[in-house]
């Protein structure tokens, strides 16, 4: 037996990440509660651009995913790998660069998103300079983690560490591929892929952001902290190995289930469905492994709030991972997609699985690194019950709302008309559910406040053990490993392991995405598709800035109820060729308001209707819950980047003629004059709001937005009939 060496665990970095997680969890959930209330009281946007739903919904999702959960991952990973590998972290400097870099990225997100600087891709909203910063900091995290593995004293890598490695590898791959974009200004860019391809890549990313940011690292945490809290080893280590390899192998394929009934080719949709269904097996294997770890210790669950949090977290994981595959079945997805079902589903995952596991881990870990006991078990129990009630009150009303609204969307009268022909009828019907959801959110948030109080008093009562003394025998590198199995050899070699994990996930990504690159030639071309005019393009970028896609889809599925509602004259559902110039694609994932893909063909969508509607939605639709956008009526169109936009889009394949960038501005104004003329013919001078400068109408942002809306879906009409 070799002499034991003494060394110190770095608890300070764990404390920093944990604190950041708590603080940003507070902010992220507060914003979440705020937007839940905005859906009930639209005026809560305070008529300000920065606090309007479309802009702060991504702030909420980014804050809870990357700030609350992200920092919790780093805290948990850094706590557990030191102890599992019996060594201090690779480098204190890298740890600190990682910490401060990540917080700066969050700060940048918190500034840019309310300013409307967004790529509009869900969970990848941040723009290119921040994307680069994320890549750099993520690589630093990887070096620090793998470096720690290389200098470890423990010969073997425990399964939790495999999950951390897979997380790191896959997030790197996803982040890089999904953020391939060409800048047209120092802060804005257009994505490399357009239309259908963009959709596939985005949801390959989007689904795996859930898989490899919200799931695999948390499974790693589960495999470490649940045995710790229960003080017994995991139920089956063999099962955990199978859980790991099958999960990472299957997850990467499932993305297309976000695009069922869209214009994505059928083979890709089916691929997504099949792999999603298969995912039940490893997911439930993992859940059972977690729950069965508590065999013989269930009496303790009754008294120990930490175990209670973990049990509900693992159960929520089981529920979401059963529900997910079910939602991937086309007939169920037809109901769930675009409704609040999606919102309920993700919140079972985030509030239950991520939130409750975080609380459990922090209640267990933080008193230990502060050398003290938890301030109050009673308060932790209160937090548990109020939080659980919060999850129920949050999700059940939304499931109800989703079914109700979908049934209303699809209901026909005996003579074949839509029973609820006005979209708003289906919204007012579910408003009571939105109110109940807000109550659920408030309960959960109250639990968070109790948690914060309890943790902060605990910290005050103790003192951080910044460097915790530990001892272990050095790793014997010369020890002969002859006769060991291939897998044992593999998990002794972190770098080789990392490469194989990359291979495992890359195969799925490749086979899913490469054929799509050929689709470019397979998308039926239609000569009636025209690139956006400069004014429409400007309007589209305003549409993106305001986050309209958060509530309005642009994807009419091939259902009778949808073509009847959204394109009553032509009865045309959306076709893949209509999106060939869409950078970014704006299909959306939720219809809080109606689909807009045929908005340009609507008889109600006249210039004056949009003009009045965007200024005060309730003047047009009495019960509308859409926020007002008064700033569009005073802000003038920014033409400073127009040339660059045209150049970048041409480079990417939009057929603007050479030299068009020089006359784009003229075209923009010519078209704006037409919109203004139409508007003036429809409205009297006294109908314009007082702050609108009537003589300067053609330069206002609202004109560009109207031009864009008037163009939507018009490509479906053959050129000669336009």
């Amino acid at each position: 037996m070799s002499q034991k060496e003494q060394f110190y665990y770095d608890n300070e970095i764990v404390r920093k990440f944990a604190l950041a997680s708590i603080v940003f969890g507070f902010i992220g959930m507060l914003v979440g509660l705020w937007i839940a209330l905005e859906l009930i009281f639209p005026s809560l946007n305070l008529n300000l651009p920065f606090t309007t739903f479309g802009r702060i919904r991504p702030l909420h999702t980014n804050a809870v995913i990357f700030a609350f959960v992200g920092n919790a991952i780093f805290a948990g990973v850094y706590y557990s790998i030191q102890r599992l590998l019996k060594t201090r972290l690779f480098s204190d400097v890298l740890s600190n660069i990682h910490f401060w870099g990540w917080q700066l990225i969050i700060l940048a997100a918190a500034i840019t998103l309310p300013l409307g600087i967004t790529s509009s891709y869900e969970y990848a909203e941040l723009e290119w300079p921040i994307d680069i910063a994320i890549a750099v900091i993520w690589v630093i995290f990887g070096i620090n983690m793998i470096g720690t593995m290389i200098k470890r004293r423990e010969a073997h890598l425990y399964v939790a560490i495999w999950f951390y490695i897979a997380t790191w590898v896959t997030v790197t791959l996803l982040h890089v591929v999904n953020n391939l974009e060409v800048p047209y200004s120092w802060i804005k860019s257009y994505p490399l892929f357009a239309g259908v391809q963009a959709a596939l890549v985005q949801w390959w990313y989007g689904h795996n952001a859930v898989a490899f940011f919200l799931t695999t690292p948390y499974l790693g945490l589960m495999y470490y902290f649940l045995p710790k809290a229960a003080n017994r080893p995991v139920y089956s280590y063999r099962l955990s190995i199978i859980h790991f390899w099958s999960l990472i192998f299957l997850y990467i394929w499932a993305g297309p289930h976000h695009l069922l009934y869209s214009t994505l080719p059928d083979w890709a949709q089916s691929l997504g469905t099949v792999f999603s269904l298969m995912l039940i097996a490893p997911s439930w294997g993992g859940m059972l492994n977690g729950l069965l770890t508590l065999r013989g210790a269930w009496d303790r669950v009754a008294n120990d709030p930490i175990l209670k949090f973990m049990v509900v977290a693992v159960t929520a994981y089981g529920m979401s991972t059963f529900e997910g595959p079910m939602l991937s079945i086309k007939s169920i997805n037809a109901i769930s997609h675009f409704t609040d079902w999606t919102i309920a589903h993700v919140h079972i995952g985030t509030l239950g699985w991520n939130g409750f596991l975080t609380f459990g881990v922090f209640y267990w870990m933080l008193p230990r690194i502060f050398g003290t006991k938890l301030h109050s078990v009673k308060l932790a129990n209160t937090h548990f019950w109020i939080g659980t009630l919060g999850i129920l009150f949050y999700s059940i009303p939304l499931y109800w709302a989703a079914w109700t609204q979908n049934l209303m969307w699809e209901q026909f009268t005996p003579d074949g008309r839509l029973t609820h022909s006005e979209f708003i009828q289906t919204v007012t019907q579910i408003l009571p559910m939105y109110r109940m959801r807000a109550i659920g959110a408030t309960l959960y948030f109250t639990g968070l406040l109790i948690f914060m109080y309890n943790i902060f008093v605990t910290m005050k009562n103790g003192k951080i053990v910044k460097n915790e003394l530990a001892e272990a025998a050095p790793r014997d590198n010369k020890k002969s490993y002859t006769g060991e199995t291939a897998h044992r050899l593999l998990e002794r070699k972190p770098i080789r392991f990392t490469v194989w994990a990359l291979v495992a996930v890359a195969i799925g990504g490749m086979i899913e995405i490469i054929p799509m690159l050929f689709v470019d030639n397979e998308v039926p071309k239609n000569l009636s598709v025209e690139p956006y005019t400069p004014l429409e393009l400007t309007g589209r970028d305003i549409f993106i800035r305001e986050g309209c896609v958060g509530c309005h889809s642009q994807m009419i599925r091939p259902f009778r109820s949808e073509v009847e509602r959204y394109d009553p004259d032509n009865k045309e559902y959306s076709k893949s060729w209509e999106y060939i110039y869409d950078r970014p694609f704006l299909w959306g994932s939720k219809r809080t308001g109606p689909d807009l893909h045929r908005e340009g063909l609507k008889t109600t969508g006249t210039e004056s209707w949009h003009f009045g509607h965007m200024y005060d939605p309730r003047s047009m639709i009495g019960q509308s819950i859409m926020p007002a956008y008064p700033w569009l009526y005073t802000k003038t169109i920014d033409e400073s980047t127009l040339k660059h936009k045209i150049n970048v889009l041409r480079m990417l394949g939009t057929p603007y003629p050479e030299g068009y960038e020089d006359i784009a501005s003229e075209d923009l104004h010519a078209q704006a004059k037409q919109v203004v003329a139409a508007l003036k013919s429809q409205l009297d001078e006294k109908d314009f709001p007082a702050e609108v400068d009537i003589n300067n109408l053609e330069n206002l942002e609202i004109i560009a937005l109207i031009a864009y809306l008037k163009d939507l879906g018009t490509d479906i009409i053959p050129k000669d009939k336009k």
Partner: protein, 64 residues
Amino acid sequence: MYKKLLESADIEWMAILPLIIFVTFFVVVIIRVVRSKQSFIDKMANLPLEDDDSVPASSLESDN
């Protein structure tokens, strides 16, 4: 359309390859897992429990 797509791009192998990879992969993982020694499995499973927590074993003993 997918058939046309696969034919035109000569990527038929892509449809079969995943199946082969999966079956092989899972069979290998399961064989390895089943055949690994119980003593090794026990050692790995107990890794998280090896270090004693320097602070009180249960942080839940007191309640204010």
